[in-house]
Symmetry: C2
Amino acid sequence: MPEKVLIIGAVALGPKVACRLRRINPDIDITMIDRDSLISYGGCGIPYYVGGDVQELEGLYSTIAHVKRDVSFFKNVKGFNVLTRVEAVEIKRREKKVVVRYLDEDRVGELDYDKLVIGTGATPMRPPFQGSDLPKVHVVSNLHHASAIKTAISNGEVERAVVIGAGAIGIEMAEALTDLWGVETTIVEMADQVLPQALGRDMARIVEKKLEDKDVKLLLSQKVIKINGDIENGAESVEVINQLDSTPTTLPCDMVIVAAGVRPNSELAVGAGLAIGRNRGILVNKCMQTTDPNIYAGGDCAEFTNLVSGLDCVMPLGSLANRQGRIIATNINGGNEKFTGSVGSFCIKVFDIGVAKAGLTFNQAQAAGFDPVYAVVAQSDRAHFIPDADFMFMKLIADRKTRTVLGVEAAGPQGDAVKARVDAVAPLLKFGVDVSEICNLEVSYSPPYASAMDIVNNAGNALDNTLNGNLKAIDTFEFVGLLEQGNVKVLDVRSHIQSAPFVEKYPKQWINIPQDELRERYAELTAVLNELKESPLYLICGTGPRSYEAQVFLNSKGIANTRNVQGGYGMILAIHQPLV
Amino acid sequence: MPEKVLIIGAVALGPKVACRLRRINPDIDITMIDRDSLISYGGCGIPYYVGGDVQELEGLYSTIAHVKRDVSFFKNVKGFNVLTRVEAVEIKRREKKVVVRYLDEDRVGELDYDKLVIGTGATPMRPPFQGSDLPKVHVVSNLHHASAIKTAISNGEVERAVVIGAGAIGIEMAEALTDLWGVETTIVEMADQVLPQALGRDMARIVEKKLEDKDVKLLLSQKVIKINGDIENGAESVEVINQLDSTPTTLPCDMVIVAAGVRPNSELAVGAGLAIGRNRGILVNKCMQTTDPNIYAGGDCAEFTNLVSGLDCVMPLGSLANRQGRIIATNINGGNEKFTGSVGSFCIKVFDIGVAKAGLTFNQAQAAGFDPVYAVVAQSDRAHFIPDADFMFMKLIADRKTRTVLGVEAAGPQGDAVKARVDAVAPLLKFGVDVSEICNLEVSYSPPYASAMDIVNNAGNALDNTLNGNLKAIDTFEFVGLLEQGNVKVLDVRSHIQSAPFVEKYPKQWINIPQDELRERYAELTAVLNELKESPLYLICGTGPRSYEAQVFLNSKGIANTRNVQGGYGMILAIHQPLV
């Protein structure tokens, strides 16, 4: 049993390791160090501090019983020592010592260990453009930044802000700035969609529409060139360039928030000769040990396996750090707990909608060597007669050949309900299950919380039908593009009343035969089909099932070249302006 | 490939089989019969019709596009024949014929089949007491009853109602009667708790408290003796007897709703010599075939495997019927889909809380031959700084020897969030996973939807600690009982302010040493411990973690005979009146 455990880093992972270790071993010598003075804070709460849900900064480093998590808390309550403002400089593995710098005393020293835990976290990337170090340019990484941002805003110094990066933190910060403070906010993102690491195009577009609806300006496919300003006045504007057409734009602002991703703090491990992964995170085995078995690592600085792609990944999430921390503590104490990896579960609230995903996006699945097939469904998130029932959207992805489920994404106004569906699929992803497992997934049912055929089952069914070749779908984006170009024929199987405005607006393209008349009237399509020749007839309804039914019926009548608009008009409305 | 498919029963299962079958096979001859005139309704929506969420009866048998699901709908839209008011009387298996009675014509006839599907559902039990057939005594089984109940109430004929049975339907009906109509409602239940088939005592008690808070009167452990009244006036009162002390009570009322469970409608199958299970449901294999491979059965009339207990079970749930229906259709059409069984997922809304479970309750686990161990945790359902964060309660059950997870139950005010946790555990139950899978369950995390250490992970951790012997807990009910008897010593590790009223009320029993003083002051317990001799010292805090930490600390100091009050004072408040 080790006698001395040294933990570097006192946010999320470190405290979890130390507290758990003390609980299972009263005698072991535990020391935790951190270069900051404020420790054990909930970094993911920063947007909620800026946005006003958390009134005082202390709320981010207090327990639910309103006790501050500081040095004396860890000493008196948890029973171990924390040294703050102490930076680890070097790991001397042979001697089992860490060279540290006492930041307030300008001296160095050494701390011994039998077992070392590296929980150094990650650092926000500051892209190398000019001006990124100006005053009024902030990252969202610790409570000092959080405090500075909120102080500036609450002092009325910020009318316009630019957020660089449309990942989770960028979006959450944009919401905080807009929603509480009415700051005119622009998000600049290099990719052609928000949340490119987390979501496929469909769910991302739902988020983008929500941001636009809430007056957050969104500049996609735009690259920041530089931040203008000077040391005295700080940032004054951001210059961006459109990556598609090279149009330059200058965005005047009083604050810039850089949320362009994070980089694992692995320098210490590199210096010590520990193995580093492809994402610059510290490589660990399933016991969370680095390539030195006396050194553990976890949290934002560590790299582990994505259980769907099989590739190594990093995931800066407090939840993951906490789960890993418990495992590290158990193993230091002689246990044998395994962290096998992650399926990349993710969720975010964006104003009044929730979005969640687990597994791989379509693009990630392709990059990992799969041949992904997907289905998109739109459906009521509870029995349709329940008063607050609303649309939820779900995308389910599987591999074409093996039918293995690879990923799921969902969005809708009831965030907890969205999370419920994604979290129900997530545990199965690591088992590599067939799509039929999702068709038959046993989610709990009661009308206030679900439809009898839940959206998650229907997503499975739609994907199963697609893989079987019964359902031939067209991507909603592609359909809208074709419609706007004018060269499609659409058969709308909704009622006359619902389809009339579409028939009027698109007289040459939009045909209506309601579902209950199709079996009698399908022969009327002959002229249209002759005209179409090789081109498919596009089928649409409210959300997809009726046009799917029409598709299989028409197919049985020899009309085989049809495409079902996935998620129907409901999905179009979710990702596009109304067609009429 | 079969040519003629006959389906008996046109609610949930039957329509699903027929619609799916038509979609995958345009040529097959499909006939569905039902003895009722109203078909394909959502029976689980009846309480929401009575309670006003659904305005018109039609809403229960209409599609989301407001199209009535009637004979012409199935003919024109779905492409198959439905015969209503046709009752199946006998199955002639050798001849592959079903003898039917045309109820409106008073004649019998025969219908041929190649494949037969039995989806006859279940019938509400009418316990054999006197008066159960009086006017004003209703069951909740079909739309005719639903209509009669709502008509009587909306005509102002019902001031007081008695609901017999505290299962899901009884509770939902009681809510409907009370919440919208202000009917003075009493639920009579034979068991000593509500939802005895679905929940353990803890979560049941949370439901009971909610019902009481909402002025639903609850008579547990009470048996109905008879219903008084006559044919002219209908039911006038219900006589019950307390099963514990034999006290009789008479409950005057204007309406009685019998919700005492359902019985599978398996008579037809019995008559045909098909195998019937221990719950009187029709036995089916994983392909949903009865013991006659040409006859399928599913939905409320069929019996299948509980995947945790391994025992056969019945589960009257529209969700299950729909999933099974799809499988039956696929298999009739030559496919090979499997329904392997159910883990018994369940959820219910009770006024403003949601409750869910999957797997076995403690009692069910014992009855199935396991040696169950459980942990109860109380925790915020989202990051504690999020404005609408509230307590969620969770119980996790595993087998002592194998550590296999057997069941999960949860309750809280955010029903979708409750469902999210239970639905995330449910998919794992059939794999027989170790508790550590729940400790590390990857639920998606963002402060508006979860804590960094989610309640489901903490429930896993608490159970892991219990199985490891680190956490020695006392059941909350047992603790409250002992406290009320006066013979316990309690160490409260909350703050002085929080514990002061308890110390005042229980001066001889309640000691307070706050968590942050315990490491210095634990020696003060010596006198108390001497006095306790063999009896344990009970440890309590707000929700359990701090008193657990105190427990492991005291243990390290040689004070080993302690018990942690599971879920802390939060759990006591959830199941009991406030102690102070």
